[in-house]
């Protein structure tokens, strides 16, 4: 069997396995085994990919597998990966793994919880391996829908409202996406050819520019909604705030990345001309996202809201980078996705663990936690520092690559936008330090906190996995960056063929 198909098969088998379990202990064990296998498989994939590339395989996608599914519509089950998807798969593997351990004590309807969680993961993995727009869209929706149950059943606060809002807004996004994908399909080849959903095939031809102009906004905004594009981001704060820990982790950590990845892989890759024409609108929106999210975060009091707004800011940077449309910025976008995925998952994991102890997420009700739960405190500080872009952590690498890529444009508009985006690093520092200060530092504000226990083994495992990811990328980014860099060659070649008007 093709190694990529395993990425879908293993979760499905895990789900099937959980169906036969009886209680929390069994179901979490099965999930843990399944997702550990998945993590190992991700690592193997990275290794195989790198060795294959070093062996000189220059194909745009590796490990491809193609099976005709609906011959009448030429829908294929087509999978394949390049450096970008490999990186995203590895990210997903890590986050899902950490997510399982972060929900080790999910007592209520535990079987159903793990099933939904892993279904979500299946969707994400499937999305990243897909080369066929149809299956991509299929997996996209598979990934979105379990969110409703996960938030609605196991969430907190106004969970029904948040779950509904999140689901509907994301489905609204897929309405746009559907138009975009179908439009691409019907213009995928010059008149008379066999229509195709295959991304690589479509990329060989140029979609007529009038259609691109029409379809690009649909596709980009469609994916952008999932990527928390301003002003369509409002599902994110509510959704994250209500979601249970592992769900927030997965959602912010990997699901939102579907937006950025899709915007890049579909919107920009297939419709570069229109992207080039219309980028300015979205650059304005994303620059706003970046700064606006950060300012929004300053004012919040709920830890999850803070992190949700910070996600808006960071994911805004992903889309911002994608729109810059050069190799460096694309690389930066991917690294930022991975970096943000790990960081935000770590944040949400920690928030969940802290909430599990203090039973509040309001920062002004907490204080001095560093003294009682030093492990979580230290990891929180690490996450915070990573989030504000400290060198040595992944966030720095990502942001710098993005900024340099964006600044590569010589015109004033792009440069001003870049500087606006760059300024977010200060605002980020403000809110991160505010949280760290109020939450962890200072005297202990509540005497109940004196008896809190520090992290358990599974919590340590969950957080340390993510910390390792963050620091590893932060310290030695070259392999990742080069892996992505190389994979961008086809799109860069395609971009180079565009006639740039007036430039």
């Amino acid at each position: 069997m093709n190694i990529l198909t395993l990425f879908v098969v293993i979760p499905v088998l895990t789900v099937a396995g959980i169906l036969f379990t009886k209680d929390l202990k069994q179901s979490r064990l099965v999930s843990a085994i399944g997702m550990t296998a998945q993590l190992i498989l991700s690592a193997i994939l990275v290794y195989l990919y790198v060795t294959e590339r070093q062996a000189g395989n220059m194909a745009p996608m590796l490990f491809t597998f193609d099976a005709l599914w609906f011959p009448a519509l030429n829908i294929h089950y087509a999978v394949g990966v390049d450096g970008i998807s490999v990186a995203m798969i590895a990210l997903t593997g890590v986050v899902v793994f950490a997510g399982i351990f972060a929900s080790w004590k999910m007592e209520f309807l535990s079987r159903e919880f793990f099933i939904s969680l892993i279904l979500l993961a299946t969707g994400v993995f499937g999305f990243f391996i897909s080369l066929d727009l149809f299956t991509m869209f299929l997996f996209y929706e598979i990934a979105v829908i379990p969110m409703y149950l996960l938030i609605g059943i196991w969430g907190s606060g106004p969970k029904e409202y948040s779950a509904m809002k999140l689901t509907l807004m994301l489905m609204g996004g897929s309405a746009l996406l559907m138009v975009g994908i179908l439009g691409i399909y019907f213009y995928s080849v010059p008149t008379g050819g066999q229509l195709t959903f295959n991304v690589l095939e479509i990329a060989k031809h140029k979609i007529p520019i009038e259609m691109q102009r029409f379809l690009f906004p649909f596709t980009f905004v469609g994916f952008g909604i999932l990527g928390a594009l301003f002003p369509f981001h409002t599902w994110s704060p509510d959704g994250h705030a209500s979601a249970p820990t592992a769900v927030s982790m997965l959602h912010a950590g990997v699901l939102m990345k579907l937006g950025g990845y899709g915007a890049f892989r579909v919107a920009i890759f297939l419709m570069p001309e229109a992207a080039h024409e219309q980028a300015w609108i979205f650059i304005i929106l994303t620059s706003i996202s970046v700064v606006y999210g950060a300012f929004g975060a300053i004012f919040q009091k709920d830890l999850k809201y803070i992190n949700a707004y910070s996600s808006v800011s960071h994911c805004g940077l992903v889309l911002f980078a994608v729109l810059m449309m050069n190799q460096t910025a694309f690389t930066g976008a991917v690294i930022q996705m991975i970096s943000h995925g790990l960081m935000t998952a770590l944040f949400f994991a920690l928030i969940g663990m802290i909430y599990g102890r203090t039973h509040t997420r309001m920062i002004n009700e907490m204080g001095g936690l560093m003294k009682v739960i030093p492990f979580l405190g230290v990891v929180y500080v690490i996450a915070g520092l990573a989030s504000l872009g400290l060198p040595g952590f992944s966030g720095f690498v990502a942001e710098m690559t993005v900024f340099f890529g964006a600044y590569e444009h010589v015109d004033l508009f792009h440069r001003v936008a870049t500087i606006v985006a760059v300024s977010s690093i200060v605002i980020t520092a403000v809110y991160i330090l505010r949280v760290v200060g109020t939450l962890l530092m200072g005297p202990i504000t509540d005497k109940h906190f004196l008896h809190l226990e520090d992290a358990n083994w599974y919590e340590r495992l969950s957080t340390i996995t993510l910390v390792i990811g963050i620091t590893f990328i932060g310290m030695a980014p070259l392999w990742l960056s080069d892996m992505i860099h190389f994979s961008l060659a086809p799109i860069i070649a395609k971009l180079a063929t565009i006639q740039l008007p007036g430039m």
Partner: protein, 638 residues
Amino acid sequence: MNSYAYTLLIPLIPFFVFVSVGMAEDKLKGKLGGLIGTAGLGIATFLSYFTAFKYFISDHVAGTGYTSVKAFEITWLHLTDKLTINLGVLIDPISVMMLVVITTVSFMVHIYSLGYMEGERGFARFYAFLSLFSFSMLGLVLATNLFQMYIFWELVGVSSFLLIGYYYEKPSAFSAAKKAFIVTRFADLGFLIGILILSFNTGTFDFKELTNPHGIAIASMGGAAFMGLSVITWALIFIFIGGAGKSAMFPLHIWLPDAMEGPTPVSALIHAATMVVAGVYLVARLFPVYSQTGPAALQVVAWVGAFTSLFAAVIATTQTDIKRVLAFSTMSQIGYMMLSLGVSKYGGEDGLGFMASNFHLFTHAMFKALLFLGAGAVIHAVHSNDMNDMGGLRKYLPITHITFLIACLTIAGIPPFSGFFSKDEILSAAFESNKILFGIEYFVAGLTAFYMFRLYYNIFWGHDRHYHHTPHEAPLVMTVPLMILAFGSIFSGFLPFHNLVTSDGLAFESHIDWMIAIPSILVGVLGIAVATIMYKKENALPDKVAASFSFFYRWAFKKFYVDEFYMFVTKKIIFNYISRPVAWFDRHIVDGTMNGIANLIVFVSFNIKGLQSGRVQQYAFVFVGGVVAMVLIFVYVL
């Protein structure tokens, strides 16, 4: 690889100490963590001295200039086609000098802290952070390129943050740490923008390429003008903003006084001797670029330096917290260094200011570290920072007293202490360049002597206060570093800096210009004299003076309300008028629109229910109406 490859170990040893001590923090009993840290830094110090010896003396061919050597370099990240971030070790006169400064002071602080921090909760953590700082700072000075410098620049920022916030349970300590981080972060934004502009115009980060005065990189600078200044000038000004933030230049200085919340050894290491001079080092590093392509930027550097030195000195005369006095004094002295760089030119004797700046950096590191550690010993003895709680301590703390006095004399510029020599060079450089700046600096020299001796007398003279227990001299681990640093303060002035650290690497002749030196000594003596009159014995004079300048005194005492201004801008304006509206806008307008759409749908849904009236005849009516409508559409529309 070359014969300097081992220098890689100098930053790496503290790094490994940081990782190992940091990981095993709670397992390290007693002073073990501290000892590991100190030992590690001892090795690094030894290697640094060895490097200095090797570079300046053994490897040096007489009569030639010092060239820079890339001891080690790896690619860390590819950014664009041209720009690659490398990490490496660059050996040249200023980096070697900085190595010596950093390792010396850091080593002293490590030893000192064994005594000072004894029994503190998180003793090992303290040493882990110290090692992290040493690593970052060494990485910074050894940077082969601008971006590496930025990376370590951020890292020193965070280690400073961690160390200031060491007493994290004290809200004031953490807020000081936060302030330091955010202010420097803001400045780093400027640095980053500067890097962006500079690197895209020159196509390189590498210092060797950038600063080669005959290289392509400098030649390619120029570029379009923006608001009357060339793009490169703007880039350099932005980069200087970064430096100004780290070096606490006005108006980005507000974090430094608060940073004194950290443990005193930290203040000595970071906020006096090493990190705060990073800005100076940055400008010195890029000095050829500044002097060749951005004279306007250098002007900015000079004036900011001069103003800060005056501004800080004035404030220092009014403060009562001894560490804050020292902090303002640091600002003032760094102002000197900046000024000196600002007035310098490139090459030969014109580069006097450059040399003087580095010289002063070196001597200042010694005496300021000494001052801080001395202050630490005092605080250790009386458990207070406020000079009103001190007095007559010379009997109890003899060693501290003597070393402190030496340091005060040094900073006051009294020969033959080192401060005299370095300050004299700066004044000479300023004299040759700009008489106004020179005048300011003269005045500041006097002020410096005054406030330092005000401090000195307030601590060690006057009558005893009510101490909780009798103050006692610090243990030997603390006094030995004091003595070593005192030794350095006295004799480092005799180092032949004009042969070693110059703008173009070539030695030049330098001598003391007595026409400048004698008035400067006199000014220093005058300052000391005034301080002696006012503070040696308690009398009413200081209050009278304060009263007669009450308005001015109050402003100076309140640090000219700069903090309050920032507070106003951040808390009131940004928080209230940007962040709060953004949050409101997000909840009510953006989210409101989304919810509004949903509510609208529900509203419509509720209001059209009458259509389904339950009456079959109405249904039929709608049915027939539908038919008619379709007919009409077919007839009139299609």
